[in-house]
């Protein structure tokens, strides 16, 4: 018999019974459908608890890294604490630093107890109702959450972060979500990271995390914008490429590439798919404009990448 904690309840799960049926027996509603691990409706998260191997069969490596499991396949072997995967939790955070990176992007940093992986996203809440999602550019090892905020004069959250929030002020962040993060275990794999605008933020996080984990395969990072002056973190990335032989930084612009021989001019989708024609065994991360993300996702798959090796985060523009 194992005891499973859910919210403020403690439920006994006798040997041979699934967690799903035990929770249902305790009148706790868990979405479910097939009860045969196929539909993934009953997906839950374990918190600092051992997860029976069978309960994670068929899940992606990204889901396993985040302690997801299927309640219909979970026969608890020891005590666990669990919650529904989509339950949002908000964490207190203190702004510790802010700095404009160029005319279009603001860097902000927060201290918080929230767990995260570099490349996931979180929402920043001005109050209970107004919040916006941003990708996380920093690693847990950095000790802070770093976000790259597109500066919009009429943006509710971006102008509040830039003009009202001061270093030392508090706000709330939602639990980190998303699959765009580095997962150790395939250190020889070539990584191709492509992003438009602040789609660079999660990719910067993934690249640094890979290098911090001694990733040995080549890492190609493509950062795209309209004109050269809209690119940001250029010095940091050139420096990173200078220090790591396997890290390659590529700048892509739509116009004015003649300023600098290091720049590629053209469409990011064309350039990446032309330069990486065989993507077998590669891992691809795509972040930013939804049109670019969808096109490159499909092309990457057709050019040989496994579906589970293409991680995407499309930034829908706020209305």
């Amino acid at each position: 018999m194992a005891v499973v904690r859910y919210s403020d309840r403690a439920i006994d799960v006798p040997e041979g019974e699934t967690l799903l049926s035990a929770l249902e027996g305790a009148d706790i509603a868990v979405p479910n459908s097939c009860r045969a691990w196929l539909c993934h409706s009953c997906i839950m998260v374990a918190h600092d608890s051992p997860i029976p191997e069978k309960a994670q069969a068929g899940l992606s490596s990204q889901q396993i890294a985040q302690s997801y499991f299927l309640a219909c396949q979970c026969y608890p072997e020891s005590d666990m604490e669990v919650s529904l995967g989509d339950a949002e939790r908000r964490y207190d955070a203190v702004m510790t630093y802010k700095e404009p990176l160029n005319q279009g992007v603001l860097k902000v940093r927060f201290k918080t107890d929230m767990p995260w992986f570099a490349g996931q996203y979180t929402s920043v809440w001005k109050n209970l109702a107004d919040g916006r999602s941003f990708s996380i550019a920093s690693m847990p090892e950095d000790g802070h959450i770093e976000l790259h905020v597109r500066r919009r004069s009429n943006g509710v959250i971006s102008s509040w972060l830039e003009h009202e929030m001061q270093e030392g002020d508090s706000c709330q962040l939602s639990s980190a979500r998303g699959h765009c993060f580095y997962n150790p275990g395939a250190e020889e794999q070539t990584l191709v990271l492509a992003g438009t605008g602040t789609g660079l933020a999660p990719l910067y996080g993934v690249a640094r995390q890979a290098l911090a984990n001694d990733h040995r395969g080549d890492i190609h990072l493509y950062s795209a914008s309209g004109s050269p002056d809209q690119l940001y973190l250029v010095d940091e990335l050139v420096d990173l490429a200078g220090r790591h032989e396997n890290f390659h930084y590529h700048r892509v612009v739509k116009r004015e590439a003649e300023q600098d021989p290091q720049l590629h001019q053209g469409d990011l989708v064309d350039i990446v798919s032309r330069r990486h024609t065989d993507l077998k065994q590669h891992r691809i991360y795509l972040c930013g404009a939804p049109g670019m993300v969808k096109k490159l996702q499909k092309l990457s798959f057709l050019q040989g990448a496994a579906l589970t090796d293409i991680l995407v985060d499309a930034f829908e523009a706020p209305a």
Partner: protein
């Protein structure tokens, strides 16, 4: 032993989905129906379908197939034929013999009326 088990279970189906879905997207007879579709969600559905036709654990109900294809205008037998053909090619690439492929094709064929909503 089911073909699902013979091929190697869950991981083998993942590999099969990759091959199959790639063929579908490159086939001009049917790929217009997959334009702009969420790829992760679509692959999950294909996995459920392949698991079913390979005899793996499944909760197949004709209702899902019917609902899932109802909105596709112009869908007819030639499209179902194309899908079954690509399924056969996929299994051949994975080293499955003709006899087994015939059985899988028959199972896939059994959902034809659900897919075509008749």
């Amino acid at each position: 032993m089911s073909l699902y088990e013979k091929l190697g279970g869950d991981a083998a189906v993942d590999a099969a989905v990759d091959i199959f879905y790639r063929k579908v997207l490159m086939d001009d007879r049917i790929n217009q129906y997959f334009d702009g579709v969420d790829m992760a969600g679509q692959s999950q559905k294909q996995k459920a379908f392949l698991t079913m036709v390979l005899g793996g654990p499944n909760s197949y109900t004709g209702k899902d197939m019917r609902e899932g294809h109802k909105h596709l205008t112009g869908l007819n037998d030639t499209h179902v034929d194309a899908v079954i053909e690509l399924l056969g090619e996929t299994l051949k690439e994975l080293g499955v013999g003709d006899e087994d492929i015939g059985e899988v094709a028959a199972l896939a064929n059994s959902v034809r009326d659900d897919v075509l909503n008749r």
